[in-house]
Symmetry: C2
Subunit: 215 residues, 2 copies
Amino acid sequence: MSEKPASPKSEKILDAAEKLFALHGYDGVTLRQIATTAGVDVALANYHFGRKLALFSAVFERRAAHLNEARRSALRACQANAGEGGPSVEQIIEAFLRPLELAQETGDAGWQHYLALVAYINNSPYWGQRMMSRLFDELVLEFIDALRQALPGAADRDLFWCYHNLSGALTLTLAQTGRIDTLSQGKCLSSDLQAAYDRMIPFMAAGFREVCMKS
Amino acid sequence: MSEKPASPKSEKILDAAEKLFALHGYDGVTLRQIATTAGVDVALANYHFGRKLALFSAVFERRAAHLNEARRSALRACQANAGEGGPSVEQIIEAFLRPLELAQETGDAGWQHYLALVAYINNSPYWGQRMMSRLFDELVLEFIDALRQALPGAADRDLFWCYHNLSGALTLTLAQTGRIDTLSQGKCLSSDLQAAYDRMIPFMAAGFREVCMKS
DNA sequence: GTCTATACCGTGATAGAC
DNA sequence: GTCTATCACGGTATAGAC
């Protein structure tokens, strides 16, 4: 699972780029800032990764397989535990979300930055279509298949739009913008992922049922 | 409602900036691109608006009052139509969403770009907290008050987190990234806002009820 | 008051010397 | 692997035309 880094410094570069791209977006970050943050020379990023865009892609790809694996095994586990009818909508959504919470609970700040970067990319009219599908569609379609089974008779269009709602709420959560902190005057905190997921799971499950089972 | 433009060309600049900022974000756009798109000289943006950041703010502010007014009167209207108990969760959410649909149906592409820009800002860890609250919190809190009334006994924290889910789904919708087009293999289209809102309203209403009325 | 032409100077990505 | 040079492009100020 853990590929050995090409070099210690190239990992530092990826870490720095991950953090800065997540916060400021692709164009909001310079290679110089990345190099400074990583404590290396400006040209080293170029040496290891080539052009800026390739570095961006490398950051995006670095943790994608890990993430997909964690989600896939959570889905498999809940499918194995479920009876003949398969897992419930709640269980499937939980399998989709909880691995993200765990990733951010490891204390590895890198995961938090990575997920904020995914949020940035997913919500971008420019990058969203360009970069998400290749790495994530296959697994997302597995989840949607599972949901289709849990929601007999659901129309595909309804399923996809419901997934869109889930994806949007999740994206805003991962971005951790701090907006809910202000809006709620401190009653809720962007950084409190457990509170977010605890409510997202029943919320989304009820939404899926309402829209997909109205028949 | 329609303030007269400071000059014909300054409106062109705002239109161009709105479109480009929405697509590429603040740092992804140069003043030269904006000027070229607007068909004016580079220095004119500076003359009318000052620094780049001030132009960005001007774009963000230009349509905010219109949008808030449209939403506020939709809320007032559904409150007036409702009986003693006040409007339902569905009606409140509809009042929150439908004005956006209408704005984009006027054929004015500017509104579409503007709403995509709001999506960009709302989802940005950098701009989200910095720019959303001043213009939008007051009205959002009115909506949350209405929801609190429609969901008796709801805890504030639950209400805010549910609003966060609604806001996230809406944000991804407004960004119109085209991702759902690919994921669904054309069964759903980002540009089909009516399809999105038709499902968002029952979806979100069911989610609010599930989380806020579990008592 | 509105707008254009142009110049300034810092900073960016990237390539080539070491 | 690292240091440094290159050269284009960025935001912005100024001068003056209409």
